[in-house]
């Protein structure tokens, strides 16, 4: 019983004992509270978490390890013979198209994000606060577009962009990505605007602001964190997109990272060392920001869904 009496709810226990003394004095019926556990359980808990953490971290650590092992280090995956070197990084950054691909990816992802957030912000606000004819169907359309498999639009877009001469161009790919990012951003921002109290809108209206004024002067500044997270999410979605980029981009200098990396492990010789170095360079900046915003990210993704 000692574990039980140390519980932080112990102030409640005497009452219960008084009400029902027979139960309280039954010493062998141990029911543990939520924050109590035996040393053995603690050990198990930590063992399980350490195991899971190792599985989660190992591939990333392994990628870093291989990237530092020189060009052919990957062929001896379990030995560290020969020490660590940065030759893969210098090669990738100076001798390959990698910097160009990196710039392409940044440009396309930034373009998509800017357009997506800019176009979608006012819509997110309108569907969060106003009820108007067409509201329900717009919500429905936004939801359905999240389900679009790549295969639905890719053929038609390929033919349309081909007709306009926009294949293998930044504009073509940015427009394509907007078909994903605009509805998504609107949906996600609706979730954030929902969390801002309505009283603020009412205060704005009392002060004589139009709905546009309320939105731009009051709500938008308050929603900056939400905008940032939405922007970031749409950035990494465009950053990691494979299918459209692979189909629409053809010349070597136009490729994005997700397509370009494949050329390191082509038919003739697989250069996993170079690939690992590129992977580390790609992952570190995005990963760091990601870890900063991830708490808000989940809230945004699920809020839109539950309050729909």
């Amino acid at each position: 019983m000692s574990a039980m009496t140390e519980s932080r709810h112990d102030s409640a226990r005497p009452d219960r004992a008084a009400v029902n003394p027979t139960q309280a004095h039954r010493p062998h019926r141990k029911i543990r509270g939520r924050d109590e556990r035996s040393p053995l359980a603690s050990l198990g808990l930590h063992a399980a978490l350490i195991g899971a953490a190792v599985i989660a971290v190992f591939p990333i650590a392994y990628m870093m390890f291989i990237s530092l092992r020189g060009r052919d280090g990957w062929t001896t995956p379990t030995s560290a013979e020969g020490g660590l070197e940065i030759s893969n990084y210098t090669y990738v950054l100076t001798e390959t198209e990698f910097p160009r691909w990196f710039a392409n990816s940044v440009l396309i992802a930034l373009g998509t994000t800017a357009l997506g957030v800019f176009i979608a912000a006012s819509t997110g606000y309108a569907i969060s606060r106003m009820r108007f004819p067409g509201h329900k169907s717009l919500m429905w359309v936004l939801l359905v577009t999240q389900m679009f498999p790549v295969a639905v639009l890719i053929v038609a877009l390929y033919n349309i962009l081909g007709g306009l001469g926009l294949l293998d161009s930044y504009v073509g790919l940015i427009l394509t990505y907007c078909s994903v990012s605009v509805p998504f951003c609107a949906w996600m921002m609706k979730g954030y605007f929902d969390t801002i109290p309505y009283e603020i809108d009412e205060a704005g209206r009392v002060d004589g602001l139009t709905p546009f004024g309320t939105f731009y002067r009051l709500i938008l500044p308050l929603a900056k964190p939400g905008l940032a997270v939405t922007a970031f999410y749409s950035f990494i979605t465009a950053w990691g997109e494979v299918a459209f980029a692979r189909a629409f981009l053809s010349s070597d200098s136009m490729l994005t990272l997700s397509v370009g990396l494949q050329s390191f492990i082509g038919q003739h010789k697989a250069e996993w060392g170079y690939l690992a170095a590129s992977a580390v360079i790609i992952t570190i900046p995005a990963g760091l920001i990601f870890l900063l915003v991830q708490r808000n990210l989940v809230a945004g993704l699920t809020a839109g869904g539950t309050k729909g």
Binding site: R32, M130, A151
Partner: protein, 343 residues
């Protein structure tokens, strides 16, 4: 109220207030003509409509038009050879023809020999991935949702896979699965087992891609469920403890019901994402050597951009996939609503 009657809704999700609003606008003087009514509803709602206009335009141009075009293509026999082409100065007009529902019939009757095996594998892939995502995510969230030393360190380490872009993660795993120089086979060798040709055989290919996707997807579920756990009031647990509920009973009757709003959303999202998961399967298994481990989306992609480009077939697959997801989402929502009503 002033002109800004596009009023804030008090209860979220009550689209009923929308219809009530428009109802009162139209049912005023019932003799009002159509024009007057349109004018009135324009006065009333133009703010809202102006705000949603950009998105409606974008959706119409960037999604609606291609979607319509895709649906049209699915009723034709368009392929690489008969679409319009630009060769030098001359434009060769399209020569594909309208063939009605032939594409749909060929696919849904099983005549192409690809649809049902691939559908089955896609369903198995989606179900097993979402199952592992959810159960492992729930387990880890329950472990993390306690007082323990190093909790935030564990949390950051467990979230790391999510911070890796999927295409990068796929390449890392492909390197680890490598049959001659991969770390998995090296470890198996040290333990005295024969190496496994992970990406060479249909069954191990499937295990391999599920492994990657589970690794990538668990953190999202874990964080989402942690958020859900935090929102369950501790009063409920205290009440359950008072009643002498065992840990299992508390989990079954307090935790699980409390998690339901979060669970239903993440399972729906996870199902849709996994069903459409393109990069992992495409980049892991390449284009050529994995015909039997393709899911529907990657197969449709191969139809469109493979050796002989079958645009019509790919478009048809796209429409079929989308229809299946829509039906699933509607039934899923309805099932949840019915359960809620029953409680």
């Amino acid at each position: 109220m002033k002109k800004a009657t596009a009023q804030p809704a008090q209860a979220t999700g009550s689209a009923a207030s929308g219809s009530a609003g428009s109802g009162s606008a139209t049912s005023g003087p019932s003799k009002a003509g159509l024009l007057t009514r349109m004018k009135r509803s324009y006065d009333r709602y133009w703010y809202a409509w102006a705000m949603v206009l950009p998105v409606v335009l974008v959706i119409g141009v960037l999604i609606g038009y291609p979607l319509g075009r895709g649906i049209y293509l699915s009723f034709t026999d368009a392929n690489e050879l008969n679409v319009a082409k630009q060769i030098g100065e001359t434009t060769i007009p399209a020569t594909y023809e309208f063939i009605g529902l032939d594409n749909y019939w060929r696919i849904l009757s099983g005549a192409d020999g690809e649809f049902y095996p691939k559908l089955w594998w896609t369903v198995v892939w989606t179900a097993s991935c979402v199952f592992f995502h959810y159960t492992i995510g729930l387990g880890l969230a329950l472990l993390l949702n306690r007082k323990l030393k190093g909790r935030s360190l564990y949390r950051v380490m467990l979230i790391l896979p999510w911070a890796v872009p999927p295409f990068v993660a796929t390449y890392i795993w492909r390197m680890m699965y490598n049959s001659e120089s991969g770390v998995f086979n090296a470890l198996l060798g040290k333990l005295g087992f024969a190496p496994v040709d992970w990406l060479g055989d249909t069954f191990t290919q499937k295990v391999a891609v599920i492994g990657v996707n589970v690794w990538l997807g668990v953190p999202f579920m874990m964080v989402a469920i942690l958020g859900g756990l935090a929102s369950i009031s501790s009063d409920q647990y205290e009440a359950a403890e008072m009643d002498g509920a065992s840990p299992w009973q508390r989990f079954r009757h307090v935790t699980l019901p409390g998690l339901k709003p979060v669970s239903s959303t993440v399972i729906l999202l996870g199902t849709i994402w996994t069903f459409n998961m393109f990069p992992i399967i495409y980049l892991m298994l390449g284009e050529a050597n994995a015909m039997n481990s393709e899911i529907l989306v990657t197969y449709a992609y191969r139809l469109a951009f493979g050796s002989v480009r079958d645009y019509a077939g790919a478009a048809t697959y796209g429409i079929i996939i989308l229809s299946m997801l829509l039906v699933f989402a509607v039934f899923y929502r309805r099932l949840l609503n019915r359960q809620e009503a029953a409680q």
